[in-house]
Symmetry: C2
């Protein structure tokens, strides 16, 4: 099994010709987990062939328009397409009022139930059988969250040859061994799980920063992640400019530069870093990439429709 | 002077890979008049190089999401770019509650004043020195409007050679003649305006249907227009299918087919018809175009970023 990450929008605040507003989709088995939902996301989903009928959870990081304004159109299009499956929406306090006010002021009839979860505390916000999603507070202009998708450890690999050699016949005993129980063979011999099953394999972990200045809470949340998707709104060169430019200072104080994002990746010991949420001033991302690479080599800059496959082999 | 019409979005309800949600922009002198404001319009404006700082009026036809959900992101981006100039927004009752609820639930600070006009009656909704915009009720699922931009007649062409030959010296007398007054030359001879000025030239007229079934009110509004932009959601072939398909019937009853739009164009004696608001089921518009052309030959189907120049020479 593998997880696919698709970048639907990689711009900050204002879209560009080549970058749509922020949204990242994680395809896991038959489910879609979306992180942020910028304006235009429904069309990006159509272009990336992400369906509208799947099991889906949307995690919004904060209530700035560029991160949530894709939601109303997405809800409308899902309804026009007769979605019936429940949709879960997670976000900071305020996400419920936003969705409800749209339903009151723009004319459309929902064909499916929405469950809205306003997150007031850090920690696990959604618990599923095979994974959970954890939220951490970040530091931005308004209350903001980062998220991590954390798969639970998977069962170790079962070795059928070894089991047979030890006299365990194929059938229910194999399953009990794989689930960590000792079993007795027909000849009365006790076989322990560790004799035929490898150690449990950690699942895949993906962390997403949302908009934030560098913060230890995110480094902790992202610890040992296979992939950290971190905002990098402005380049390091703007730190200097901000000393003389009050407006630039105000922006850079609530965002991260490539070096700052790379430093978080290094501290968190993640395996791979992708920078996203780029200011429209950058026509090319080359300079941002260089700045980050000095501190954390396994880094790339996201582009719209970039896809990443993560499988346990990577872990 | 000419007027430029740019189609920013030509899809109906759900965007496609090649068609964004509805919006048409009319560039007239230093001003932008936008008709409908579908999700993603700000990015379409960037792609079409329509600026965010100009004098601008937005006319929304009805409160369905695909026609208004581009507004919040547009307001946010204009503010991020420090627009200071007033923005006028016209629409049916409900447009004010929508804009105000977005301002309450999504975090952004407007840097410019918005004037919202909720249209309750047909007729002139906006009067400028050189043009007015007129609204007419149309027939859709919810209250809906069509609009016409109607330029006032322009002064006739002044013939300076003739004026000189008749003994009128260059100066204020010329201006008085051009504005329709008789004047006396220094030698006491009376010169009438029609001797030196051609007849006033009618201005350009553009009508925009919004979403509607064929309606006489629109044919009246569009009378003698240089350009009628008419919705054409579904092809004529769907009229037959709707007889057995209740859902198709419900949709087609509140929209127009190419033949129906062409019939309105013919009745209104417009000079040119452009079909837009195409259902996502049509990969090619060829069939729709053929259906309309049988009834009204000067017809085209809009594509995103299609531009049309209208000048008085066309009138």
């Amino acid at each position: 099994m593998s997880i696919q990450v698709i970048f639907l929008g990689t711009a900050a605040s204002i879209p560009t010709v080549s970058r749509a507003l922020p949204s990242v989709v994680v395809k896991r088995k038959n489910e879609i987990l979306m992180f942020d939902c910028g304006e235009g996301v429904q069309r990006q989903m159509i272009k990336a062939r992400v369906g509208f009928h799947r099991k889906m959870k949307i995690f919004t990081t904060h209530m700035h328009g560029d991160h949530v304004l894709g939601l109303p159109g997405l809800l409308q299009t899902m309804s026009l397409l007769d979605r019936t499956q429940r949709l879960e929406v997670y976000g900071p306090v305020g996400i419920r009022a936003f969705i409800e006010s749209i339903q009151l002021t723009v004319q459309f009839v929902l064909t499916f139930p929405i469950e809205i979860y306003e997150i007031e505390n850090e920690g696990v916000v959604c618990e599923e059988r095979e994974y959970h999603v954890q939220a951490a507070r970040t530091i931005h202009m308004i209350p903001s969250l980062a998220y991590a998708l954390i798969e639970k450890p998977r069962l170790g690999r079962f070795n059928p040859e070894k089991a047979k050699a030890l006299g365990v016949p194929e059938g229910p005993l194999w399953s009990r061994l794989q689930h960590g129980e000792k079993v007795k063979t027909p000849t009365g011999k006790v076989v322990k799980p560790e004799e035929v099953v490898s150690a449990p394999r950690p699942g895949i972990k993906i962390a997403y920063s949302g908009d934030t200045r560098p913060t230890r809470s995110l480094a902790r949340l992202a610890e040992n992640a296979d992939l950290l998707i971190h905002e990098s709104t402005l380049g390091d060169e703007m730190l200097k400019r901000a000393q003389e430019d009050a407006r630039m200072l105000a922006i850079i104080k609530i965002h991260s530069t490539p070096s700052q994002a790379a430093e978080i990746a290094r501290k968190a010991k993640v395996k791979r870093l992708i920078l996203t949420h780029l200011s429209s001033r950058y026509k090319s991302a080359e300079r941002l990439l260089e700045q980050a690479r000095k501190i954390f080599p396994n880094v790339d800059v996201a582009e719209d429709f970039m896809k990443i496959e993560l499988s346990l082999g990577d872990a």
